[in-house]
Amino acid sequence: MSAPCSAQPDRSRGHSRMRRSRRFAGLSALIAVALLAAACGGNTGDSKGSSSDVPLVYGVFATPLEEPWDGAIHTALKAADADGDIVYKYTDNNDSPDKMTRTLRDLIANEEPDIIFGDAFAAEDAVREVAADSEDTTFVFGSGEKPAGPNLSTFDNWMQDPAYLAGMLSGGMTTSNVIGVVAALPIPEVNRIVNAYIEGVKETNPQATVKVTFINSFFDPTTAKQAALAQVSQGADILFAERAGVIEAAVEKDLPVIGMMVDQKDEAPENVVTSLVWNMRPTIDHVVDKVKAGSLPSTDLAEFSFMKHDGSSLAPINTDVPGGVPDELLQQIDDKKAAILDGSFETPVDEDAPAGSTTVGE
C-alpha cells in the first residue's frame, strides 16, 4: 500500500488554518469515540456483594465468552452462582499477556477474589507470574503446563473418553468407510480428542479412513462448513463437528453429525446423533469445597474432566438420524462406557497432530 500512501492530498486548497484545526478536532473526537467503542470489548458481569462464607469467584478469560471452550466454564460457574455455592463475576477478551496481567493485578488489588478461574494458554508466563505474587488467591487455570507454586492449579478439557465412544459410534455407522473431522488448531488439547476419536473408530471399523481438517481458527464457521463439504465430496458420510459450521454442512447433505462441548441436538434434531459434552461443575465443586475448608494446594485437576468424575460425557444418542443407529452398536458403546466408568478401560491419550487422512487399520 505504499504507493497510495505517498500520493497524499495536495489539491485541497483554500482552507483557512482555522477551519483545518476545527476539522482536526472533529476527527479526533470521532476517532476517540471509535477507539473507545473498540476498547469496550471486555465485559464485566453483574456485581453482587460477597459474604464471607460464600467465596467470590472471578472468571478471567482470554477469549470472548462466545468461544465454546470458555463458554463451558462460564456456564458452569453461572450455575454454581445460581445454586448459591459461589458469587461469580467475570471479565473476558483478555487476549494478550499484558492485558491478562493488568486485569489479574487490578482484580486482586481491588476486588480480592478468593478464586480465579480462567484460561492461560495464550499467556502462560503472565498468569504464573501474577499467581506467584498473589499467594492469598487461588488460581485455577486451563493450561497446557503443570500446576505451580502453592496456589496455581490447572485443568483442561480432557474429553478423550466421550471422544473415543463417539469414534466407536461413527465407525459403526459409516457405510462409505470415510469419516470427516473438522477441528480448530492442531494443539494438544484438540489433538488428544481427535486422536481418541480415531482410536474409537478403529475399534468398530478397522477399514475406515478418517479425514481431519484444521481450519486454523477458533471462529470461522463458514470455512469449517466448506471444509466439511470437501470431506463429504471425498466420500465422508458422518462428520465430527469439533468447530461450529460443520452441523450446517451435515444438514445440507442430510448426514449424521457429532456435536461438541454442549448437547447440540436442538440445532439439528434430524442430524445430530450425539455430542461430546464438557461439564466443568465437578472441577468447580472440588475447588470450592477445598477453599471453603481451608485452601486448595496446587493440583492438576485434569481427572475432574474425565468421564468417571462426570466431567465429560456423551450426550444421549439420537437414533432418528439418516441411516439410524444399529442396536448392536449401541450395546457395544454402553459396554465400553461401563468399562471406562469402572476403570477397566483407560482411553489412550495421544497429543500429536493427526494426519489429514488416516486409514485406521494401517
Binding site: A3, P9, L27, L30, A37, G41, L229, S233, G245
Partner: protein
C-alpha cells in the same frame, strides 16, 4: 489423486460469492477516488444485522434488506468522514471498521450473551443435489446480475461516466457541472450496500447463524483483489474465482493421503500466496484512479 472435481467447482462459486460482492462494492468506491477501508467492518455489520433482523422477524429477506440498509449507512458514514470532513481515507476507513465490528460484538453480547447463538431462517440452496449449479440465490444474483450491471453501469451510463470522472479528475468533473460530492456519496452508498450483501451471504445463506469474527479478514482480501484487477470488473470476477478455487482446492488436498505430509499451514496460506503472487506479477506499473485518496474542495 481422488479429487471431487465438480464439488471443487461448486465450492469455488460459493466461496467466491461474498468476495465478489464486497470486491465489486470496493471497486465502485475506488473508481470514485475513495479507498473504503471500512469494507471489513461493513461486511461484518451486514453479516450481523442480517442475522439479527432475520432472528427478530423470522424472515431471511427482512434480514437481507436490513443488511443492505446498514451497509448503505456505513458507506455514507465513511463519506461523511472523507468527503464531508476531508479526513484521511485510511484513518476514516480503519476507524469505521473498528467501530462497526466492536458495535456488532457489543450488541451481540447484549442480545445473545452467554447462551448459544440462535439459528435463524436462512436462504436454502437452489437446484439441490445438482452438481456445481446447486448454489444460493445470492450467488446467482452476484455473478449473473450484479457483476454485469456494475460492468455496464461503469462503462456505458451517464452515472458511470460521472463516477469515473470524479475519481479521475474531480476539478474537471466539477467544471463540467458534475456534482463531485454527491457522486462520491452515491458511490459509497452503493459500495457499502454491496459489501454488506457479501457479509449477509455468510450468515443468511451459508450458516443461518452468527459467530464473532465471522468475516475473518475477507474484506482485506477484497482490497487486494480490486488492486489485482486494476479497478476493472471482469478481472475482479476472475480474481475472486481464482482465490476461491485455490481455497476450495486446498480444502480438498489437505485430506488426501498424498498431501497429508505437507504442513497444513502451507496449505491454508495457499490462496493468500496465490493472490500475493498474482499482485506481484500484475500489480507493477499500476495506474491508480487519478484522484485516488484525494479529498476534493472547490477552490
Amino acid at each position: 489423486m481422488d479429487l471431487a472435481y465438480l464439488a471443487l467447482l461448486g465450492a469455488m462459486l460459493t466461496i467466491a460469492t461474498p468476495l465478489l460482492l464486497a470486491a465489486l462494492g470496493e471497486l465502485v468506491c475506488e473508481r470514485a477516488g475513495l479507498l473504503n477501508l471500512g469494507i471489513e467492518g461493513t461486511m461484518y455489520a451486514g453479516a450481523f444485522s442480517g442475522f439479527a433482523v432475520a432472528h427478530q422477524t423470522g424472515s431471511p429477506w427482512a434480514g437481507l434488506v436490513a443488511a443492505l440498509v446498514v451497509g448503505m449507512v456505513a458507506g455514507l458514514f465513511v463519506g461523511l468522514l472523507t468527503i464531508g470532513l476531508g479526513v484521511n481515507q485510511h484513518v476514516a476507513g480503519i476507524g469505521t471498521t473498528l467501530l462497526l465490528i466492536a458495535s456488532c460484538d457489543f450488541i451481540n453480547r447484549l442480545q445473545y450473551g452467554g447462551g448459544s447463538v440462535p439459528k435463524v431462517p436462512k436462504f436454502e440452496l437452489l437446484l439441490k443435489d445438482t452438481p456445481v449449479a446447486s448454489q444460493y440465490l445470492l450467488t446467482y444474483v452476484a455473478f449473473l446480475v450484479i457483476a454485469p450491471v456494475v460492468f455496464v453501469t461503469l462503462r456505458a451510463t451517464g452515472f458511470g461516466l460521472r463516477l469515473r470522472a470524479v475519481g479521475e479528475n474531480p476539478e474537471a468533473a466539477d467544471a463540467a457541472g458534475v456534482r463531485v460530492a454527491g457522486t462520491r456519496y452515491a458511490a459509497l452508498a452503493i459500495g457499502g450496500t454491496l459489501m454488506a450483501a457479501g457479509g449477509a451471504f455468510l450468515t443468511l445463506a451459508l450458516l443461518g447463524s452468527f459467530t464473532l469474527n465471522i468475516t475473518n479478514g475477507r474484506g482485506w482480501v477484497c482490497i487486494a483483489l480490486v488492486i489485482f484487477a486494476r479497478w476493472r470488473v471482469i478481472p475482479v470476477v476472475a480474481g475472486a474465482l481464482l482465490f476461491a478455487f485455490v481455497d476450495a482446492l486446498q480444502l480438498q488436498l489437505v485430506i488426501t493421503s498424498a498431501f497429508s505430509g505437507v504442513p497444513r499451514e502451507v496449505m491454508i496460506a495457499l490462496p493468500y500466496v496465490v493472490v500475493i503472487v498474482a499482485l506481484a506479477v500484475t500489480g507493477r506499473n499500476l495506474t491508480y484512479p487519478g484522484a485516488y485518496l484525494q479529498p476534493y474542495r472547490r477552490s
